[in-house]
């Protein structure tokens, strides 16, 4: 009978306020001890990711995870991977790349030199996709791609240019739908269970660690890519990062967001015009 009488309120075993307190304390601890600031990340997502790590460490509570990561740096590295790796694919959303070829490439041709920032590049799938696209459009040799991420482990992986072989079929389909002009297999060699991409694709790529939450702008760019990174931030932090992007773009510079992201819910919408009806391509105009 006791379970029935407790129906009207929350069950006694689960207390959302206590859970929130535990999560806030853990994130505060991570920030003060390790310097990584996840305190303004979107709550529902970070909550999911933290619980996954609790399970991965075979613990029972968020507080238990807090104790472990503060005393065990290897556990912290695992948590950092959980919190910072954004799952993506080469030529994710092929229609975006097609639109980029049609709408943005002609604009880029007018610049003698092009600086592109991939903010939150994770394991580099998008950087390689863009390098391929620019190569095929004859623009790569006057471009420099700055690929940054908060997490040095994923940057090292991105630098290697090795992607899982079992995803090449999917990537090949994406590449073709994205308007690819060659045979996708020309760009990589199969090696064990990995596909090693041609090192010449990264000859103009600079990989470096950069934290969108705490670091400042480091140059002026013609294009900024930040696709499906800001979805993990809360609205206040999104606005702060948009301010960073705004300051880092040349006038008439371009910003590319993920296909389900929008400037509509940020303060920076009036500063940009939409360059495409279907894709999230924005041009700084004010």
């Amino acid at each position: 009978m006791s379970s029935e009488t407790s129906l009207a309120g929350a069950p006694s075993t689960y207390n959302p306020d206590l859970e929130r307190l535990e999560i806030e304390l853990l994130l505060e601890g991570v920030f003060r001890h390790y310097g990584f600031d996840f305190r303004a990340y979107a709550y529902a997502s970070i909550r999911r990711r933290l619980w996954k790590r609790v399970e991965g460490e075979q613990l029972r509570t968020i507080s238990g995870l807090q104790a472990r990561i503060l005393h065990d740096t290897e556990a912290m590295e695992r948590l950092l991977l959980d919190l910072s790796v954004n799952v993506t694919a080469m030529f994710r959303d092929p229609s975006f790349y097609r639109e980029f070829r049609e709408k943005v490439v002609p604009l880029l041709r007018t610049y003698p030199f092009i600086r592109i920032w991939h903010a939150g590049c994770s394991t580099g799938e998008e950087v390689f996709s863009m390098a391929i696209l620019l190569e095929e459009e004859g623009l790569y040799d006057r471009a420099r791609l700055y690929a940054t991420d908060i997490n040095d482990v994923v940057l090292q992986r991105a630098k290697q240019g090795i992607f899982p072989l079992d995803r090449m079929q999917e990537y090949t389909e994406n590449y073709m739908k994205a308007g690819g002009k060659r045979s996708f297999s020309e760009y990589y060699t199969a090696k064990y269970d990995g596909a090693l991409f041609s090192p010449s694709l990264t000859r103009n790529v600079v990989f470096s660690q950069h934290n969108l939450v705490t670091d400042r702008s480091f140059s002026e760019f013609h294009v900024i890519f930040c696709r499906n990174v800001l979805i993990y931030f809360d609205k206040t932090l999104q606005n702060r990062v948009h301010s960073l992007f705004y300051d880092s773009l040349v006038m008439f510079g371009l910003m590319a967001l993920g296909s389900k992201e929008s400037l509509k819910f940020s303060q920076y919408e009036p500063c940009y015009e939409k360059l495409s009806v279907t894709e999230k391509l924005y041009r700084k105009v004010h």
Partner: protein, 207 residues
């Protein structure tokens, strides 16, 4: 002859803010019937999670809009939750419910699904607790049952399409098994029942 114990109706003055609906195989036809039965004056925010191919376009939203006068929108990141609207979870993302708005995630598929019904249900339960209504419709896998359980455990309302009337009974049957006290109804019954529930006034997140 009422053999099953079902979730009690809410006490006077308690309303529901959000309805989350999950479906997979057979979902398109079911959702059409479902939305056409929801009254035009419906006050809660409805979120629909339908498993679909990652490259699917806005067709689902367009098709559903033909069957309701409530506004149907596809979710974008940080889109505010407004009452009396129907939101469709986009393909190839997880849709998470936060107090007052949505957040998206590209985290790995859960049980092969992105969007995952469990992820949306679980976040709705966390953000809206007993003010949540969770509904599982036709489908050929067990997604949604864990999330429905969480909604029910936190005092929300659990509803399942009668497996006998579902195009694919696996998903509703799994949901009934996970939440034995869920209300089991036909599609038309679910829409009518929703119309009879008291709607809360959604909290303004910035208030």
């Amino acid at each position: 002859m009422q053999a099953r114990h079902v979730d009690p109706l809410p006490a006077l003055g308690v309303g529901y803010d959000i309805v989350v609906v999950g479906t997979s195989w057979g979902g398109l036809a079911a959702l059409r019937t479902f939305v056409s039965g929801v009254p035009d004056t419906f006050m809660m925010a409805i979120t629909l999670v339908q498993h679909r191919h990652k490259d699917s376009d806005h067709l689902l939203r367009v098709l559903l809009q033909e069957h309701t006068r409530l506004e149907v929108c596809e979710v974008e990141d940080k889109m505010p939750l407004q009452h009396g609207r129907i939101y469709v979870a986009p393909p190839d993302y997880h849709t998470l419910v936060e107090p007052g708005h949505f957040s998206l995630s590209t985290d790995a598929p859960v049980r092969y699904s992105r969007p995952s019904i469990d992820v949306t249900f679980s976040s709705a339960a966390d953000s809206y607790g007993h003010r949540t209504v969770g509904i599982v419709l036709t489908g050929a896998n067990a997604d949604g049952s864990q999330g429905l359980r969480q909604i029910s455990d936190r005092g929300g309302m659990a509803i399942v399409q009668d497996p006998a009337t579902a195009e694919s009974p696996t998903m509703p049957a799994a949901a009934v098994k996970a939440v034995p006290r869920a209300r089991v109804m036909s599609l038309a019954g679910i829409s009518a029942f929703l119309g009879s529930l008291p709607a809360g006034v959604p909290e303004r997140e910035d208030a």
